[in-house]
Symmetry: C2
Subunit: 208 residues, 2 copies
């Protein structure tokens, strides 16, 4: 069934990366995929526009169904392949509540984070201590408790992006612990942005 799936993606984009993690977790390796270059403007190519008229990556198709919102894709994959691979929506009410909270709060956080990196505005730094508290309050090691869930699929790439841009490991010890633990998860290792392996990160965020 992975043959029915097409993903056009860009390296280092948290929205693209979260879909790739979800595909790995649901054992959907072997899907059609193509790495495109933002720098060369390939996200505005006809190939992309045919799936995503906004000219954005990710562009995602499953059969004839198109979903271009990355969180939407993760939910769709979990729903369609519920009994396959990792269960990404916890059964327990408390973990589920926390999972839904984290997933939707990262949408807001994600927007702010983009601004943070682009403009490095200190006024937005409140999002970070808040994340650090978040990780602290879940004793299970994952964002919504003791199980890896959609919250981790969706939030982890955004956190990794902050470290890529120089976030201080010392200043956010809980967040750093979470980040380093998850780095070694097979789905995350398998999908680590190739351009991040080849080029050094930046230190834009080192002082926040």
């Amino acid at each position: 069934m992975a043959k029915d799936i097409t993903l056009l993606w860009g390296s280092g984009s948290p929205p693209c990366w979260r879909i790739m993690i979800a595909l790995e977790e649901k054992n959907l390796q072997g899907y059609n995929q193509k790495l495109l270059s933002f720098e060369k403007g390939e996200h505005k190519s006809k190939e992309v526009m045919d799936i995503n008229p906004r000219g954005q990556l990710p562009s995602f198709k499953c059969g004839d169904k198109i979903i271009n919102e990355s969180c939407g894709v993760c939910f769709f994959l979990e729903s369609k392949y519920k009994s396959q691979g990792t269960k990404l929506i916890p059964d327990c009410d408390a973990e589920q509540a926390l999972m839904f909270q984290r997933v939707f709060e990262v949408n807001t956080f994600g927007d702010k984070m983009g601004m943070l990196v682009r403009r490095c505005r200190i006024c937005l730094s409140f999002v970070l201590p808040c994340s650090d508290i978040t990780v602290e309050t879940t004793s299970g090691g994952f964002l919504a408790g003791k199980n890896f869930s959609l919250a981790d699929v969706i939030v982890f790439p955004a956190i990794a992006y902050l470290y890529r841009f120089g976030l201080s490991e010392e200043r956010y010890p809980k967040l750093t612990e979470y980040y380093k633990n998850l780095m070694n998860r097979p789905s995350i290792k398998a999908t680590w942005p190739p351009t991040w392996k080849e080029t050094p990160g930046q230190d834009i965020l080192k002082d926040i």
Copy 2:
């Protein structure tokens, strides 16, 4: 079970309203609720801060589980009360894909819409023709096809908010048709913002 649920809300806030629609659709009338005034700064009161340290409405509790992200609450309610009231996640893959796309795109759209109303920036008006196309492409009368779904629960209040601020009914005929049809749905009538009934709207958006 509705007795376990507490909602602190503000009149006319699309995030608050969508939770109230979801509660109606899931037959959870009789929950504890309190209308607070943004104007009087009641969203910064201790009562709110105890549930939502960001001092924002909605503030939502179900038993001891707190979720303050409005879309997260809607998903949680659908998951917890799956077999009660309206089924809000369609069974069919195609409708489900569209539903997830709409739900997550309104998060982005919602942010832009807020800015639109606050600053009336014409440069953001692209979100509207896009919504009009969206409604046109679903032949079933609802945002994700022929069934009322979480997409409608989550997006309708944002659309109503635009009309409240003067969006032209003539310029967006499909959107207007959708808006007028949904207005009469019992869950939406029952939760219509009380302040909107008492005071006239504004015409900030009349020219976009």
